[in-house]
């Protein structure tokens, strides 16, 4: 046991109120973790520890749930999250090429963040805009029917 007891973060009033609201509802853990990620953009360890205490759920169980689901992030993401859709329609129309090109342009692997913390590149499951295949999303913006040649221009827009 090399790791010491985790430090507890102080919860934001919003999160605190949410936990109070949900504390007695059965099956609340996934919903609380969603709220944590909504506020912090990922689930920091000290926040998870504080949630564990407040909900009375062991931290091990929280990590068990967090690591089971793809949606929950354990690491702090970059300022902009670029998601490349890897649904079947996008794959057939060259989604993998978009991913390769972005890896080159950003000099980063998939599911990792650039050194300057500007971009996180991730390959994601079908976003359900198959009519626009292939596509990427940056934050909440969707860029559809996208040739690789347009990627530099899109990155430029978010680099400022």
């Amino acid at each position: 046991m090399t790791e010491s007891m985790p430090v507890l973060a102080e919860l934001t009033p919003e999160l605190d109120a949410f936990i109070v609201e949900w504390k007695d509802k059965p099956g609340n853990l996934v919903m609380v973790l969603h709220k944590v990620q909504e506020i912090y953009r990922y689930i920091p360890r000290d926040v998870a520890a504080a949630v564990s205490k407040k909900l009375g759920v062991p931290l091990a169980k929280i990590y068990g749930v967090m690591t089971f689901y793809h949606y929950f992030k354990l690491e702090k993401p970059g300022k902009h999250i670029i998601s490349v859709c890897m649904g079947t329609a996008c794959y057939l129309k060259g989604g993998d090429k978009l991913l390769d090109e972005l890896k080159k342009l950003l000099n980063v692997e998939a599911n990792a963040t650039t050194e300057d913390g500007q971009f996180t590149l991730q390959a994601v499951r079908c976003v359900g805009c198959c009519g626009l295949a292939p596509l990427i999303t940056v934050g909440t913006n969707v860029y559809g029917t996208l040739p690789e040649s347009r990627l530099p221009e899109i990155l430029e827009k978010y680099s400022k």
Partner: protein
């Protein structure tokens, strides 16, 4: 009509992402500037289905169907169409006939002609965030009927007459599920809606929830009344923020109208619905895994029986249906089971919504009667394969399904026929492939998906899936053997027999189905070390032929130093050892001198 004109803007996710919102604001601004807001109403509706052509703007009453509309087109649309009554032809999809100048009716356009809209009856017609519009189209009439005129048995009988089968993939008769849960003895029961649409290439449920959320709320309340439950949960993907938002709005409005909550319509019946978010786990589409996730745990399946109808959420009897199944129910109860049963085939009644995507001219969301043929869908509704390419196969059922080849294009589509062909209905993804798509590569794509999504609880799925993928990797790298094929069949069979849930049981399907129809393509990879579709990178070679005029462009663009050599005005040569097969030379060559073999 209260207004002279109605302008309907598609506000589904795909169109929203291409600036539908800005179009809406610009139209409102233009109308306001011309003081026309009292005679023209602008509505944001659910998906029209024709996503390929988005953003879409439809003008009523003359049914002008504008496609690829840009925010800056708003001015012209208002000044020309609304004020002067002249259609903006450059944006019009249904261009008017030259002699009569009458625009074609929408239902005479190829894309819509063969469609029958039961589930999508309101998508693209109403503003999903206004409950009055749903009510104006017979919304909540079924609920009223159920609360005051029908017994639980009447409801189940009507569903039985309709022949509705579960639209989530397995096709279990909806009435039987309802009956089992109704007959289960327990003071507390639950209704659950499975909106964890995880199939890649499928977005039917998302479009229903975005375009007509009340239909699902109404159906769940009816289900609650039928089985004797007072609480419902909608388990929806967190990746669908717009659908979640519209559901929240709909729940709030239904409560304000007394159509949800305590003492619904003064009937004494209470029913409440709560939204719970999924978190990106495909296995949670499996009902027992979904229930585990709803309980706040890791979403891992458990063996059935007991089925959720007996022992479900928190051990209580639970009725789980998919979004599309629910969305059918109000229409069935309003118009009658016999009305519904007029559509479809002997064993599969009604309609089915498909997400038609891939290598198809008209990509989009379609609703067709069961029994329609693939040929009608692909060539009449879908408009065929673009770029003059040849049709190869259509994939249905996502990672659990299989491929259907050109030989079977005339098979009527229903639950049983698709299974006979080695595929399955699945939730409704329909992905069209052309001659450039390699079936081995696509199978690998699906296996990567299921291996990644396997929850790891049972070994046939966890280990078998990984093994299958290793073999596919070997084959696509040009290192496969005949023995690998034999082993894949063996392991696939073991997974089908021994996996705990449908994810593992169906994971080998893409391989088994492609081996049945495209064994020669696997053999080409193994024996000739060639990928006939030219997709598997390790197996392709680029050559420059005598058409080369020595312009040196390819050598300049090639990312590998010294890979392409040749004097100016002389035929160039690619060094096969150095080539990384990026295909850049083929793309840039203006003389078609670079060929891929």
């Amino acid at each position: 009509m209260k207004y002279k004109n109605y302008i309907l803007i598609c506000a589904g996710t795909a169109c929203e992402s291409s600036k539908a919102d800005e179009i809406y604001r610009n139209l409102m601004k233009e109308l306001d500037a011309h003081k026309l807001l009292n005679e023209t109403q602008v509505l944001k509706t659910g998906c029209f289905g024709f996503c390929e052509k988005g953003p879409i703007v439809k003008v009523l009453p003359d049914e002008s169907f504008y496609v690829h509309v840009k925010p800056e087109d708003a001015k012209e649309l208002v000044e020309e169409h609304i004020i002067k009554g002249r259609r903006v032809n450059r944006l019009l999809y249904n261009k008017p006939c030259e002699e009569t100048n009458v625009a074609k009716k929408l239902d005479s356009i190829g894309f819509y002609q063969k469609q029958v809209r039961v589930v999508l009856r309101n998508c693209g017609f109403i503003d999903p965030e206004v409950i009055d519009e749903y009510i104006a189209r017979d919304g909540y009439a079924a609920l009223e009927k159920v609360l005051f005129e029908m017994s639980a048995d009447d409801i189940i009988n009507e569903l039985k007459t309709s022949g509705l089968r579960g639209r989530g993939g397995a096709g279990f008769p909806t009435w039987r599920k309802g009956m089992f849960t109704k007959d289960a003895q327990n003071e507390e029961k639950f209704v659950v809606c499975n909106a964890d649409e995880g199939d890649p290439g499928a977005y039917m449920d998302r479009s229903i929830l975005e375009g007509d959320p009340h239909s699902v709320l109404e159906a769940m309340t009816i289900a609650g009344k039928t089985i004797g439950a007072n609480r419902g949960y909608i388990y929806i993907r967190a990746e669908y923020p717009l659908a979640i938002h519209r559901l929240e709005v709909a729940i709030k409005q239904a409560k304000e109208f007394g159509l949800l909550g305590e003492n619904i319509l003064n009937s004494g019946f209470n029913f409440d619905i709560e939204i719970r978010l999924g978190a990106g786990a495909f296995v949670c589409g499996e009902e027992t895994a979904l229930l585990a996730s709803l309980e706040g745990r890791r979403g891992m399946p458990v063996p059935r029986p007991p089925f959720p109808a007996v022992k479900g959420l928190w051990g209580k009897p639970t009725l789980i249906n998919n979004v599309e199944s629910y969305a059918n129910i109000p229409a069935i109860l309003t118009k009658g089971g016999n009305w519904f049963a007029q559509f479809g085939t002997e064993s599969s009644k009604g309609t089915k919504v498909f997400a038609l995507t891939g290598k198809i001219t008209n990509s989009g969301l379609i609703e067709v009667p069961m029994g329609i043929t693939l040929r009608e869908i692909i060539y009449e509704i879908g408009g065929g394969i673009p770029n003059g390419k040849k049709f190869k196969a259509v994939q249905t059922g996502g990672p659990s399904g299989g491929m259907i080849t050109a030989d079977y294009l005339d098979t009527p589509i229903d639950f049983d026929n698709l299974i006979k062909l080695g595929s399955m209905m699945g939730s409704g993804g329909m992905i069209v492939m052309d001659e450039d798509d390699c079936v081995v590569d696509v199978s690998k794509f699906y296996l990567e998906f299921t291996v990644d999504e396997s929850c790891g609880k049972c070994s046939p799925c966890r280990i078998g899936g990984r093994q299958l993928m290793n073999y596919l990797e070997k084959i696509t790298n040009g290192e496969g053997t005949d023995e690998d094929i034999r082993k894949m069949r063996l392991i696939g069979h073991a997974m089908q027999m021994a996996s705990l849930c449908a994810l593992g049981q169906t994971a080998p399907n893409p391989i088994i189905s492609t081996l049945a129809y495209f064994e020669d393509e696997y053999m080409a990879h193994i024996h000739d070390r060639k990928c006939p579709a030219g997709k598997c990178q390790k197996l392709i070679r680029y050559f420059i032929n005598e058409k080369c005029i020595g312009c040196t462009l390819c050598a300049k663009k090639c990312p590998v130093d010294g890979c392409i050599k040749g004097e100016k005005k002389q035929v160039h040569v690619i060094n096969q050892e150095a080539c990384i097969k990026c295909g850049e030379c083929e793309r840039v060559c203006k003389f078609k001198a670079v060929v891929k073999i």
